[in-house]
Symmetry: D3
Subunit: 135 residues, 6 copies
């Protein structure tokens, strides 16, 4: 009786894709307009997937209100209306690509959830580009 | 040449989350506003996923019209504009959480489909909360 | 420099369409499955449109956080996870059709907004059925 | 035989809401997290509405490919992956609120379209907040 | 107490944009890939808007089931899975642009609705291109 | 550190479902209105999923601009505004069902991508019917 439950959330942030070990030319060539030194931004949509057994007393895998509060406290309140490149320590030495943001969010949430649950996150950078971790 | 085919459907229903073995206080604490004794409701969106081999004569895994008719006859015509807690026998002794509704729908559809097909169902209780069974 | 600003919100509720002055037969004939005596329900999506001059100091017609808080306090916290037919006094003698719910919400919000603003509300009962007031 | 035609486009940008004539405290109080000095960002969705007579030779109000190219050249290629507050001259002395961005876009497009057409623009800052100009 | 009610429907069809009074070269230049002599196709989404007074006995502007049945019988059952250019008489001498399809649908529906109602139709040819008639 | 990245694209095309080895009666019975000899059409939405390791220098599984260009050059520019049954050689002897179109697109893209990547494609024929290959 294993079921996956999904909760959607969102945050709005600025970022810049940049590798400090590369020349400006190489950064511009690889990252294109995403390398704008003045930053650009996105409305990120996040889907958190938690898989586990259904509790026969509640009919829940987990209380979605609890999951929603965890996402809010540990992820969206932290990242919303921020510049990921400047304001968030996790990206001090890590390029804030959608892939890396998803991995950072997964690591944050993994610590908040009981080990009996499996976890994956899907992060939409735009309606046309999104990533899922783990694959 | 195994392909998954997906068909979306929808139904609108009322329900109440409640465990009759618990006190009112505990029900209220665990289920919160979902425990309203007068019920509340949702537009449920359902995605049925059927996986199988592509038939070389038709190019179909299965005829989507047939799948659509099965979903309509056995699921959405049964559940639409109903109070799941009061009108549907499957929930007489089962809390109509999204997880349990998905399992009930899966069990209904499993009996209608040839064993050569794999089946899973995704049920959206809202745009922000949904479940998938089996995980 | 008049601009319209729009804010989306949502609530989940049960209701029943019923005219107490009519026979059961007539209610059933006119309202069909929406007349289920055990209620059914919807995820209602609400769009509130406010039209006014842009304030040159802020660039705002009005602060969307203020508008969002007004909608939450006076509309969605009041209606969410309720049975409109049983729990909401405005529908004690008024059929909770999408049209009437929209008019009730408009009347609530009109009192909360400065008269310099024009107001209209759009209410989605489902993705396929929605209403706008005033027309 | 007047018909309105609509074309959707999108761009991703950073911005900061700030009034340079105000103290930091007042900016923070009025604009809240939108005042983050390091900027934040959005995926902006734009809908351009053009109204006119249907040309009997083509069945078109105007060629949507032409409209799409005008939007791309004069709006989305200019604003995409930019910091509106730093990179775009129109916002050098104008707060880049959704209202003001919509007015700026309308002014740009108005110059590119024949006077026989009526024009309005709708700008989504998020899925939940959007504006329309003129009202 | 005038309210607008909206009903969404859809149909899938092939078409070709072509003016028989023009040379092949001019058709190709004006209509581009939409002039493919072998046709191309779309999933058309239709929104029908009906405006009128709310009936105090029902709370309805009009019964959405009745409106839905009218749309199905007179529009979507007629146009669905058809080649608009070849199968539909209304387009024998009329280019099936989105603008003209919307006008044809409006003319069909106008005859089915009581004159006390105002009517407009919005037709999505794609998610990015749509038209509204009357403007 | 394997992550899946997804890119959405779209194309509009006509097609007809038909098995040339069958009688007209059997084709009509099996394929219904999809067998219309004059064709019908769809807005196809395509999601391409590529799975691989995150490159520590870029934070990318692969550059989404490169993936987007591959999809455009090899898939959507080839299929857009075409009649799949008449214009596309891959369907000369293959019924253009959603299942078969997805397999054809997968085969095209597989040749364009490094073997270190896993690939799957999801193809929406309508908002309600879609397929995924491989399952």
């Amino acid at each position: 009786m294993r079921v996956s439950v999904f909760r959607k959330a969102h945050f709005n942030a600025a970022h810049r894709l940049h590798n400090p070990n590369w020349s400006d030319e190489r950064n511009e060539r690889v990252f294109g307009k995403c390398n704008n030194p003045n930053y650009h931004g996105h409305n990120y949509n996040l889907i958190v997937k938690v898989t586990g057994e259904v509790d026969p007393d509640t009919g829940y895998v987990m209380d979605m209100k609890v999951l929603s509060d965890i996402i809010k406290e540990h992820v969206t309140d932290v990242l919303d209306h921020k510049n990921l490149s400047l304001d968030i320590e996790a990206f001090a030495d890590l390029n804030p690509s959608a892939e890396n943001i998803a991995i950072v969010i997964w690591n944050i949430l993994r610590k908040q959830l009981d080990n009996k649950y499996d976890l994956s996150v899907t992060l939409y950078e735009t309606e046309r580009n999104y990533v899922e971790y783990p694959a």
